[in-house]
Symmetry: C5
Subunit: 326 residues, 5 copies
């Protein structure tokens, strides 16, 4: 579905309504430097991409990649155009799951086509933000690439922070004796973190290339802006790497605490067993059948025996309390 | 066994039937740029390789390597020709084992010889796919190398995905209390993943060399195509690396859960032991032989004693239920 | 809040009182080489930064970063000026927590603006130390950058040492049988160490760039001074990395000791259980109702039975002592 | 002990009998390009090396290194000659230990001196193999270096494979419930693997230098041959690295299985304890001394009580069997 | 304290007695190429360094570093001179602790000042060894730097070997069932190894720079000698890295063995408990008060009951022996 399609010239959008792909291709062909069209697609239908591929002469390998999602994040330089794959992220708070979508960008000298799959990082806001900046718009199609990269990477930050919060909750649970060991939750967070790292990490090197001006077709004025994106991506990745390491340690601390906890249980049980065993032993003694057991014939023998048992129990309870087993 | 042998010229196969090696060598010798022969061999018999080595003047070290399988994946540049070793993969679903085979490629200016060992990645489909692309065929022998690389690397993807599925099954098992800890299965998956990484990883650097045009004899038009292969290989390798890390964490989570599980068992056992010990103690008390034990002479003494035991048992069951030990 | 604002020329401060931002901007504009103004801000209020941004023509991306704390440590080169982010550290001894603040530096040819967020590394002392060194002051604005970097990095050292002390305490606790396993404390230290590494590590590469003179606008005379800072940063980072590794090992040693400890408890409990079980068994024997049990009719039968029990208990105690279970 | 000493010229050995060191040095001095002497020494006696050092003018640091074994594998370029240290390996099957020896090579323009310490990789076969290749012999002393490197690295392969077999045995043992946990054996294998990696790894970089022709004095015709050696070394090292990782996982799986095993034991014990406790309880009940216990007076009371016990025991056995505790 | 101070010219020491710092500075000023003074200081007193700093015009940052120990190992190039920090090591066998000292070297064109803190690597022997080598002495001050580096790095070797021995002892202890788990000792060794690595590792890169001739002022004749030092440092570091990895594995093996050991104890205890429970049960049976219990009236009833108990105990002992629980 084509979401929006606009023609930008002299730092401003030329028409409010969306252009057809054919109109857009026409204008891209006759565009001068700093002038470009931006077509935004969400969940492309059968034929959408093929039609655009013909109109804009997109490289077959890029089109093939764009047709099925689950690509690796990358920036590929086909001499005539760039093909960029980004993974978008959206944190589903309830289920503590990061949903990943994808954005594919075809960026030529005078056109940008953005193809969005799945949830996360819708691009209308990126477009609006760019349209409010004539100085950047004037730099041509690369500014739209920046706007999309900036949006996608900025959307990583709340996801990383949400995971940070979850990790803190998990830590609290691990060290709280009244809560069962949250092993499965730790593992699931680990999984998310690994997946998230896989979404960000491959992007760092090509972003660095953009930052350091290795692609000649990208205007130098944008380098600071790409560096800003790269810097945010690096920050998120470093945060995610730290989370990964912390989750490893949490998993180990969790293991130690499970053992400690077991120790506590074993002690408690043993104390109780001991407390029952002693009066049972006393009862056994007075169950013996010797002829000559004077206590048996005392008038208060039974009461004294019960009393002895009670005293033993109380003494044992006190003892086990003191050594902290109960 | 020679599977197929064809002569390609002007982007098209010249004969339907297979050529003899001698015919193929003849045509390779007189071939012009963009013209080449492709001989495909499966499980070479004694003498096959020696015969081809003489006909095509293959380097002795490459021939020696090709004669016994179990080579390291690599792309070697003997000035006159390339020698390429690839590991093919095939996932055996039932036994959760990845079978690895090997493909060795001798690629000269006007000939390509592919030698396949073991199962996985049969090359007929790669050949067909290439024959449908005259534009690539015209670029000469390198296009056949691409076709084989593309086939082998694309065949890694379903294997990696199958392992992904197995890992998800294992995760479910680990966190399912009713299933015994799948330690052996986790370990076996780990083994597969390590082996798989060893098949892919050594290929990444030479693929990058191809992608960046470090080999002058490879036509520039193919660079995007080799980049596509390299990109897929990188994606699989990153997937495999994540799997490796996840399996490490699963192994640790598994250990924690085994301990938690043991804790649960110990609590249950202790509860039951306690529930038996208390009435046993009561019975011992009334087994004492004191003269003066009034309860013994009550008409309902026995019934009351049994009742007391039952009450204790029920109270204990309720108590242990509440503290979640039963 | 503007803390201080001064004009430096010919290696000396020109006025004791603080300049207004407008005055400072005026002087910066007309400044010659080696002459500069340094404005120090702590916890900037709304509008502070915008006002300075207009006066000194600061880059919008840098201003945006400076407005909200939680930036990644970095040195960014906007051709007209540097933007530097540093994380300051302050160790809160009681709670064993490192508090991190931030310092943002805008450094142009003739001005330095330092913006400090949060606690740690107040800069008055850095300014005083620099004012005592006319030879460095004469080198211009870069000397103020050095003074701040030097202060911040030197303040890392006591923090790292305090963590070193805490780790040593934790080690003592881990190996002391009378102290419960300090798992939570180990984990919290691990967290601090990871966070601390994240504050230092990203700074190492840009510091190395300064050390090796990659920024042409920085006077060569300062290279040794920046190398000194870089060297201290590296030392702290290496210390922190070692701490990280040690904490991992402590966590594992802790786990082993928890298990050993459990073993000791289990042995103790079992010994006691055995010690009770044996006399109970003896009592059971003499509770049997056989007609012909001669011991029952001995005059000293009961006393001998009790004696036998006592002997058994003593023998068992001695035995368990010898095998170190009690 | 000088094992062999020969003069090679025009691709052939000149004399069958061994030359004295003095004769060899004489011929080396007057040798033309492609002509060289090869002296092979095993376990040098006192004075051997000093004599050769004087005759061939060997560098003092190299001689010092060669005099005591336990050097790090390396290829050192003293402008007039190379000094090479290799670690040889030999797998002692019975004790599952890799024995390491060392070979030191002094290689000048017209001489090669090989000094072998300890067992493994005797060089007679390397010499024979080289003598069968006049085309390589003609390339001069470097061909002898290749022959030795090739022999040593090829001898790593059976060692790595033997360790592979041992690891597979260990895996079988770990997952076999009837075999005690082979912790010590896993650890010893780990030790071997670490040691082995230390023998191979330092060699990879200098071998790569040889492969890429960084040493000008080495004839270009040998580059493919050195690449072949480097490739084998890389393969073994990758195999060894995988083994290392697998052994880490085996150690962890082993730990999990020890815990699982303990769990099984605890369940079994508890089941048996429960099975005894119930009839004991029944016996205690009928040991009570109440006046009014009708069952006691039944003619079949005793038999019924025993029967009740038996029924309980059988029911419990069946129950524990069903929940898989017995 | 100034330990020694000498003037070297034409490869020989000029005076036996030590020069005063002022004399030394004088001669350094007028020295020609290949001529230098070497002042050795141990535990400098207040003022010592300031006096030398004035005489030899040492850089303030280097002097500041030299004044307080605990510097990071490094080689710093102040254009007029080098400042080198080395960590010396000394193994204290009894307490299994490595003591680290420091040596700081100021090395100009015609002077070398060595400042030693703490124990380990006293330099008199290094000076003597150098004085015996006129050929090296003639190369100037760099030869003294080499002599010190060589001494310090050679002194690492016995330390690394001593730790190797300790690790082997620890391994023996871990796998010896009669020795308690040496967790604390393993951890302490780990700590030593980490610390030791931190002393060596930072030196590797600057040593490589020396080896590859990156510092122009160092005579080329010394490159082989610096390479020899670098090679020894690399060897020790690789040894230490292996030790680190082995200690990690030992810690894990230790954990597994603690668990196995616990398992053994639990089995033993359970066996004993079972052996007591069975005769106790039998006694309980014959303590029942049924009217009709024929065995009770048998003349040998009691003896048979005791016999039955004995048989049960013996049978159980035999059974538990067979399944290896006792």
């Amino acid at each position: 579905m084509i979401v929006d399609s606009a023609h930008y010239k002299d730092g401003a959008r030329q028409h409010d309504e969306a252009l057809t792909p054919e109109e857009a291709a026409e204008r891209a062909k006759t565009a001068e430097s700093g002038e470009f069209v931006w077509i935004g697609i969400h969940e492309p239908e059968a034929g959408d991409l093929d039609r655009l591929a013909k109109l804009f002469d997109l490289h077959e390998l890029a089109v093939e990649d764009a047709q099925n999602a689950h690509q690796r994040p990358k920036i590929e330089d086909y001499d005539e155009a760039f093909f960029i794959v980004l993974r978008t992220s959206h944190y589903h708070e309830d289920r503590e799951v990061v949903h990943f979508g994808e954005i594919h960008i075809f960026a030529g000298a005078n056109y940008v086509i953005t193809v969005r799959h799945g949830p996360g990082s819708e691009l209308a806001s990126a477009r609006q933000r760019l349209e409010a900046r004539p100085d950047l718009l004037e730099l041509g199609a690369a500014s739209a690439v920046w706007a999309v990269l900036d949006k996608v990477v900025d959307d990583y930050i709340p996801v990383a922070n949400a995971m940070e919060d979850d990790i803190e909750e998990v830590e609290t649970d691990v060290f709280d004796d009244d809560v069962p060991a949250p092993t499965a939750r730790i593992y699931n967070l680990k999984r998310e973190v690994v997946e998230f790292h896989r979404a960000i990490w491959p992007l760092l090197r090509p972003l660095e290339d953009l930052e350091q001006g290795r692609y000649e077709r990208v205007p130098g004025e944008l380098r600071s802006y790409f560096r800003d994106v790269a810097d945010h991506a690096r920050r998120v990745d470093e945060q995610v790497m730290s989370q990964r390491e912390l989750l490893n340690s949490v998993l180990q601390a969790n293991l130690a605490l499970v053992s400690v906890n077991q120790n506590v249980v074993v002690k408690k049980i043993s104390a109780v067993a001991g407390i029952i065993a002693v009066p049972t032993f006393i009862a056994s003694v007075y169950g013996m059948n010797f002829d000559n057991m004077p206590e048996l014939h005392w008038h208060l023998g039974y009461a004294l025996a019960l009393g002895l048992m009670a005293v033993c129990v109380l003494a044992l309870v006190a003892f086990f309390r003191r050594i902290d087993w109960l």
